[in-house]
Subunit: 522 residues, 2 copies
């Protein structure tokens, strides 16, 4: 008696289940294929994460929403895929996304790449700060607004100061008036492609509007409140920790005197952070990265580096290190500051660097090579690293040294490096399992808030259709693991985040929240 | 007596010469930096090429032009960088570029990724074919034109046939009339971003207009002439060799009868190629890659594979292998055709494959995974491979197996994968020294001609500011090395190309051309 045994082998792809009768070549083909598919799945960010049974339940909800959204955009005449269109046009639609809703609720860990004067929603500046006493505005001949607090405004013929309270009262419509103030500090326009044809045009406007907001932020009584508000908004967005690049600017008083004192600024940050941590015990902390402008002399950079060394000793719980900021292409390349930037290592002093590098599309230029210098100067992380995939040797070093790449998807789109975020080079870094963290750069100026919009873009646009909760979880863990926290602080931060994560899992599954017990911070 | 010796070390970047006094940390820093910079320079496509003294002279001319063009776009309010804007808007400006002029004159080797019905300038179809006897057109209710040759046109109520000769005569303006005919077969529109908002919209129109041209091309007396004209245009553009994907379509006669006979098509290709090689002894040759549509049943693919095996034996000097074409995203993934595509290897027969794969932005989908199947099916080259950088394991295999990636920059831009070509993933492949070849895909439909426009885009947009003549030379050599020619044919083709290359070098330096001696073809 003989049996005819027919084996079949089934291959499950995202859209099909394919079963084939086993003939050896086919079977061995499918085996090889599965090895590659699995190898790539394991390699990508989150590939090593094993989801628990409860997490898998949440993952099914998340992936059903993600797949639905992607598939609807893949049908002819379906809605545009949101990471492929300009954020100014997509923002309202993102807010309707089920994936976005889940991401908002998710504890996202740390936001590691932010800037001091573009973290908090401009609405807060308008609705709170411009309603404060003594707040003046003026409108120049280009119809550009400026803000300043004065006891008595000086004569300013090109742009005469007017008390906002009076202006608002006499305006035909208060909401429209406030919207005009909002617009004066925002990049948002109806047709960004036409308004900002090149990177230089958008950067010029970007720097101009930041300066408008600084008229409000750099008023001494506002300065600390702005930082507190920023912490509050990120906390509301389920972010547990924050690092911000800070220029430590000169601030001004009502009487026109100025405080050109970086210790005052650091003290103000520290006091507001301490207060915030008291008010929100579930928040983990924040760090300041002192940032010089990449347009100054080497001697100025050296001075800043020396000050930073002192600050690191003075504020070990608040100060993280040093960076250089500003539009990278026209800026001075890092190599030209070498004399200053090598100073700490030559003195055997440790000053962590967090260099912006490779935020450019101009391959083969000095800007582009900032990536090499950032790595050789032992940067802790790289800000943007947009050009990294064009530097194979530098990529190897970044991976081997475990240097995290701070990816800011919406920033790179609005500031004209890439239109369709599926073409963002971080897609390749994520696929290759690089230590990537997602951040928001300057969320206020493009109308984002917190970290969720950028996480949405990363999850939908930078990662594939098959990237799931494991990737989101890994991105959150990365953001604490690659933070400026000390090893023991990181352990505590991750432990506290893990607790929130479990709450998120249960809440998503419709279970009641446990009350948050006291967990020591660090 | 003592000497104080001060060493200095100088670092030459593209824009600066930086000299520093040698202190050991700085010196060792600069040494490490130079290692990385040189390592990356050597790794990229062309990095291993040593230019001769004469080539270096040409390189200086080329790089002066390139640097000037890039630097002018890097100044605020400078002209837009041409690879960053849509080809429809940039084409006229490219034609004024000195870099483009040099590239046009350069022998570029082979064009390895083309399609049968979109190789020759539409102007030729209009100015030659529509002027032939018996050529009819009709305009349907959507204002779409169709072409057909008839002895006597049949009644066609929805789109009544009219003799073009008469229409042209009665038109108020012949040039405008001919331009209208041109437009009916072209994707060119004044505002491509508005007209083609998504990849699906542009592909639908693309396939429609190809079909319009096929009304002229698939007329039996035109069919071979179109191929001859294509060879001529590429030859004029200093291309020495050509491979084209071909559907081997049904052609029609004047009396309405059809020739559903792929041997007739292959014979027609062969005869026209033979004639062309006789008329242009300096041309190296051409090959046909039989292409099925990725929308048919597996049994049809199997039939085509079997026919291809037969053709490879029948036309070893003309036939190269098999591929599947059509818009990849909605098409059947390769894995679903596995039964058919494994047939040759299961029969121990060698049929070279040249699969289109990964021409998509949809990561993590079956289309995206076509890359894996193409590699496992031992494809000789990959058509597009746009998604390759999101597949690290597949990348490794592609590099190890020496599978060339056929990059078609303008096609990927016009067909909506990427806007700014500096964001094209091939930039990363070029930086990593992958075997890349540059081709033109369907130049006719976007108004390109030959290979030079795509070479310009690759040189200016996919490669860095520092990529020079060595890269162009390597791209030309790659195009022969990774062709479907046999090893001995390749040797001969490269030898013949080398001769043209030397002529190009001398001519660029203003020296007289040597007459071309007879060199055996292969």
């Amino acid at each position: 008696m003989e049996f005819l045994v027919i084996f079949t082998i089934c291959l499950i792809t995202i859209e099909n289940v394919l079963c084939l009768p086993v003939e050896m070549p086919t079977a061995s083909y499918l085996q090889q294929r599965a090895q590659i598919v699995n190898g790539e799945a394991n390699m990508k960010v989150g590939g090593s994460i094993q989801l628990s049974a409860r997490e898998q339940q949440v993952n099914r909800i998340l992936m059903a929403a993600k797949t639905k959204e992607i598939n609807s955009s893949r049908t002819v005449n379906g809605p545009l895929f949101l990471p492929s269109i300009h954020f100014f046009h997509g923002k309202g639609l993102i807010e309707k996304s089920e994936v976005f809703r889940i991401i908002k609720a998710m504890p996202k860990g740390g936001a590691l790449h932010l800037h001091d004067c573009s973290m908090a929603d401009i609405t807060w500046l308008v609705k709170t700060v411009t309603y404060m006493d003594h707040c003046y505005m003026c409108t120049d001949q280009n119809n550009h607004i400026q803000f300043h607090f004065f006891q008595t405004p000086p004569s300013n013929p090109g742009c005469p100061w007017k008390l906002i309270a009076t202006e608002r009262q006499t305006a035909p419509n208060t909401e429209q008036f406030d919207q005009m103030l909002y617009n004066s500090m925002s990049l948002i326009v109806p047709d960004p492609v036409k308004t900002y044809p090149t990177i230089d045009v958008v950067w010029k406007e970007f720097l101009r509007i930041l300066d408008v907001a600084n008229g409000l932020i750099n008023y001494a009584p506002v300065f600390g409140k702005y930082f507190y508000e920023s912490l509050k908004e990120f906390h509301e967005d389920n972010v547990q920790y924050l690092e911000t690049r800070a220029l430590l600017p000169v601030v001004y008083n009502l009487d026109g005197s100025t405080i050109d004192n970086r210790t005052w600024v650091m003290e103000t940050y520290k006091q507001n952070l301490d207060q915030f941590l008291k008010d929100y015990p579930d928040f983990t902390g924040a760090r300041i990265i002192r940032s010089g402008l990449r347009f100054v002399k080497t001697s100025d950079v050296l001075q800043q580096v020396k000050e930073s060394i002192a600050m690191l000793q003075q504020y070990p719980q608040v100060f993280a290190g040093y960076d250089l900021v500003g539009q990278e292409d026209p800026g001075t390349p890092l190599i030209d500051y070498l004399g200053a930037l090598l100073y700490p290592s030559q003195q055997n002093i440790k000053l962590p660097y967090f260099f912006h590098a490779g935020e450019t599309n101009w391959e083969g230029t000095p800007t582009d090579n900032n990536l090499i210098d950032a790595v050789l100067l032992n940067t802790s992380r790289i800000g943007h690293g947009y050009a990294l995939t064009k530097h194979p040797e530098t990529m190897r070093l970044v991976k081997n040294k475990g240097i995290a790449v701070e990816v800011n998807p919406i920033s790179n789109q609005v500031l004209k490096l890439v239109d369709d975020l599926r073409n963002h080079p971080a897609a390749s870094l994520i696929a290759q399992g690089f230590p990537v963290v997602i951040s928001a750069d300057d969320p206020s100026v493009w109308g984002a808030r917190g970290l969720s919009y950028d996480f949405y873009m990363a999850f939908m646009g930078l990662a594939g259709a098959d990237a799931d909760l494991a990737m989101l979880k890994k991105l959150a863990i990365n953001s604490l693991e690659y933070s400026a926290l000390s090893p023991s602080e990181k352990m505590s931060a991750i432990y506290r985040w893990q607790y929130k994560w479990e709450q998120f899992i249960e809440k998503t599954l419709g279970n009641e929240l446990h009350p948050l017990p006291f967990i020591g911070r660090y």
